[in-house]
């Protein structure tokens, strides 16, 4: 700590050079944070999913194939309810409001268990009571309602793209959630959807809550075993696995985006290394003088490393603060349709800090080592 002043003075000696390095690092760091956030945002659902012990039953050929209504009887039988509760029929409706661009998550869902199954949503009790009484009622997340300017009691028409019907819904309640991303949804009643579809009893997925973590593998075995030789075999998955299907659909684009992040990191190291090497070269004589005064090689290494880490850290703080303000504070998103929110996660912050420190250390490692190893006489003799 007592050398901090020295390090600071050294860093500020060539203000232009340090400034340019900090600036360059800041822009690269911004891209790194941006890429990381794009990745965490794609995985956001899976992160939240693990704690709720929810499982989904879907058709083994994929989500596009509906499940038979007969399965409900089995899922309500004692063999299943011993391990799970709050069974819900949940159909992805895939409708839009007014314009196909207004695309958002909307579901036809059994309303009676919504509160127990999706227990992280807070639905006002009177709104819930009204929903139970009104067949064409819908509840929407607060953030979604704000986005489209929806008010309580407003009538909206959803335009169906998968189902050939256009539900005319009335907003009976607005719910909130601790995770703001979950407020980007609309639920309407499954029985209303079925009525519009002429009572065809189409079920997209069945959802339920496992009674304990140990029940999950048992449920998979029981349900998938039951349907194995039927005309509609099922695949029972956890909520996390359910989300991972969509990740898998992205293909290796994620890997590629992540490796772009690595390249950015390498560029950052090159840039800092360039600066550190230039400074170290200019200070050869000075370092020799320091060592004559009794500072050891270790001290010299420390000075060079500290200066480099200082520069990269300052270069990291600026874009981190800026992106926190823009994305988490002002709730901006680079693509509102694809990412309703673009929130920087704590782990992204940790990675940004680690990347800054690490690139500072790696960039300065060789120049520091060279500076410490050079013989004092050689250093003093050298004319810069």
């Amino acid at each position: 700590m007592k050398y901090l002043r020295l390090v600071l003075r050294n860093a500020l000696r060539n203000k232009l050079r340090t400034g340019l390095t900090v600036g360059g690092t800041a822009f690269l760091m911004f891209v790194l944070i941006f890429i990381m956030t794009a990745l965490t945002e794609m995985e956001a659902w899976q992160g939240a999913a693990e704690t709720h012990r929810r499982i989904a039953v879907q058709h083994s050929t994929g989500l596009a194939t509906p499940l038979p209504i007969d399965l409900e009887n089995f899922l309500r039988s004692e063999a299943v309810t011993r391990h799970a509760e709050h069974l819900q029929k949940l159909n992805w409706f895939g409708g839009y409001w007014q314009d196909p661009k207004n695309f958002f998550a909307n579901f036809g869902a059994d309303h009676l268990v919504v509160r127990e199954l999706w227990d992280e949503l807070s639905i006002p009790p009177d709104a819930y009571a009204r929903w139970c009484a009104q067949k064409n009622g819908a509840i929407v997340g607060k953030s979604l309602a704000t986005k489209f300017g929806w008010k309580l009691d407003q009538k909206i028409t959803l335009h169906g793209t998968i189902y050939p019907c256009n539900p005319e819904l009335e907003i009976v309640g607005i719910f909130t959630s601790s995770d703001i991303r979950q407020e980007e949804q609309l639920f309407f009643r499954w029985d209303y959807l079925d009525e519009l579809m002429g009572g065809k009893k189409i079920v997209g997925t069945y959802w339920m809550k496992a009674r304990s973590a140990e029940d999950i593998p048992k449920l998979k075995e029981i349900i998938d075993g039951h349907t194995k030789n039927s005309s509609d075999p099922t695949e029972t998955v956890t909520e996390k696995e359910f989300g991972e299907q969509f990740m898998a659909m992205m293909g290796n684009i994620r890997t590629l985006v992540a490796s772009l992040g690595t390249v950015v990191l390498i560029i950052m190291i090159l840039m800092t290394a360039n600066t550190v090497a230039m400074s170290a070269r200019e200070r050869v004589t000075e370092i020799a003088v320091l060592r004559t005064l009794g500072f050891t090689g270790g001290h010299v290494v420390l000075f060079v490393l500290a200066e480099s880490v200082l520069v990269t850290t300052v270069g990291m703080v600026l874009p981190l603060a800026a992106s926190l303000a823009l994305f988490n504070g002002m709730k901006l998103s680079p693509n509102p349709q694809f990412f309703p929110y673009f929130l920087i996660e704590p782990r992204t912050i940790v990675i940004a800090i680690a990347a800054a420190v690490l690139s500072g250390l790696i960039a300065a490692a060789i120049p520091a080592e060279l500076a410490a190893r050079r013989k004092i006489v050689d250093g003093l003799r050298q004319v810069v």
Binding site: L20, G23, V31, T61, M250, I267, L270, M271
Partner: protein, 385 residues
């Protein structure tokens, strides 16, 4: 008079570590820009251009082929409409089709959504660019299918003579086809009646060849307004163009990331050039004494900066071309939720754009340092140690 290029070249060689790091940094930025765009261009090539210019696709309002439904009655009503091209035998050039997706294992072991398309007898002719490259075309009624080249390469069990189990039955792959790299290559095709009886579904779409360009919007209006039909007609090419979300997203990403990274690289170039100017103060003064003008010195340093940028751009572009061009990958087509194979396309145009971008980084980064070099007063500069 201009300062000889040899001077710049030798100066770079002497400061090779610093110059090399700058070149590599610029190369990295260029490579990122080029690779993201190569993905975007690859996805775009798959979708844009798919669909014959005089084909109309008829679907349910707002639906895609995987979600749409068209009844047999609607199909025969449409086939009887005016303005539809007839083939030599006098039959309307219409193909009723059914597209379903199935979760099918990829070659690597993970699963993805495979699109299975049933086509009518005129379905192949309506595309006009389907070439069988291995095996033969399928015969109706026998559960035979042909696999697109992209699907065959990405998914398991889709080579000729394989018998994949897809959605409740096994099918026989009798051939592999190509379609100029278009979206069809990511699909498996079979006979419409085979698929319909297997999935107990109606048609999902109708592909219609119209007589003239003017018939495209006219027929689209007719199928919308006709009380018996009430469906949506779209030019087939537009249908695919509208699915191009992924590519647009990629390009937008490429612009943002490329732009911000370039600013970072400009700082890097500026740093290097400032150091170059600082270490050559006395040389600059000497050249001024020899009579080289301020402009000549400015130009000389600008040239050096641009050259560093050019080297970085060339290294980055060429490396991306070797590493990524033609690489096959796949991603979800979010409009249909089925897997779409595409190839990275590092085109010469894109490489050129990368080099120009890199030179710009050098030029912008070198501008102020070169200006500083040209502003030095001789006496002051010569005195400096």
């Amino acid at each position: 008079m201009a300062i000889p290029l040899k001077y710049n070249f030798r100066s770079i060689v002497i400061r090779w570590i610093s110059a090399g790091m700058t070149v590599l940094g610029v190369a990295g930025v260029t490579a990122i820009f080029v690779v993201i765009f190569a993905m975007g261009i690859g996805m775009e090539r798959t979708l844009v251009g798919t669909g014959h210019p005089r084909n109309l696709i008829v679907l349910r309002q707002g639906a895609t082929e995987t979600t749409s439904g068209v009844t047999r009655q609607q199909a025969s009503d449409i086939a009887a409409l005016e303005g539809i091209e007839k083939d030599a035998a006098g039959e309307a050039l219409v193909s009723p089709e059914l597209v379903v997706v199935a979760n099918h294992p990829l070659r690597g072991g993970a699963k993805a959504n495979l699109a299975l398309r049933g086509v009518g007898p005129r379905g192949r002719a309506l595309r006009g660019n389907i070439k069988v490259t291995a095996g033969r075309w399928f015969n109706p009624g026998l559960g035979e299918v042909v696999a697109g080249k992209g699907a065959s390469g990405r998914f398991a069990d889709l080579k000729v003579n394989d018998r994949p189990f897809i959605r409740g039955r096994s099918w026989t792959v009798v051939g592999v086809f190509e379609a100029d790299g278009q979206a069809y290559e990511s699909e498996v095709w079979g006979d419409i009646d085979d698929l319909r009886s297997q999935f107990k579904r109606e048609y999902s779409s109708l592909i219609v060849r119209v007589k003239s360009d003017a018939d495209l919007p006219r027929l689209a209006q007719v199928v919308k307004d006709d009380k018996r039909i009430q469906l949506e007609g779209k030019p087939h090419a537009d249908y695919y163009k509208d699915q191009n979300l992924g590519a647009q997203m990629m390009k937008a990403m490429g612009f943002i990331i490329g732009f911000v990274l370039s600013i970072g690289a400009i700082f890097l170039a500026a740093n290097t050039m400032y150091a170059a100017v600082a270490s050559r103060t006395r040389e600059i003064a000497t050249m001024r004494v020899f009579g080289f003008s301020r402009l000549a010195i400015w130009f000389s340093f600008m040239l050096e900066a641009a050259f560093l940028g050019f080297c970085g751009g060339a290294v980055g572009s060429v490396a991306s071309r070797f590493l990524f061009d033609g690489m096959t990958s796949g991603t979800a087509n979010w409009a249909t939720f089925s897997d779409m194979a595409f190839q990275f396309r590092v085109t010469p145009m894109l490489m050129g754009a990368g080099v120009i971008l890199a030179m710009l980084m050098g030029i912008v980064g070198g501008f102020l340092p070169a200006f500083r070099a040209s502003r030095m007063t001789i006496a002051h500069a010569l005195r400096e140690l």
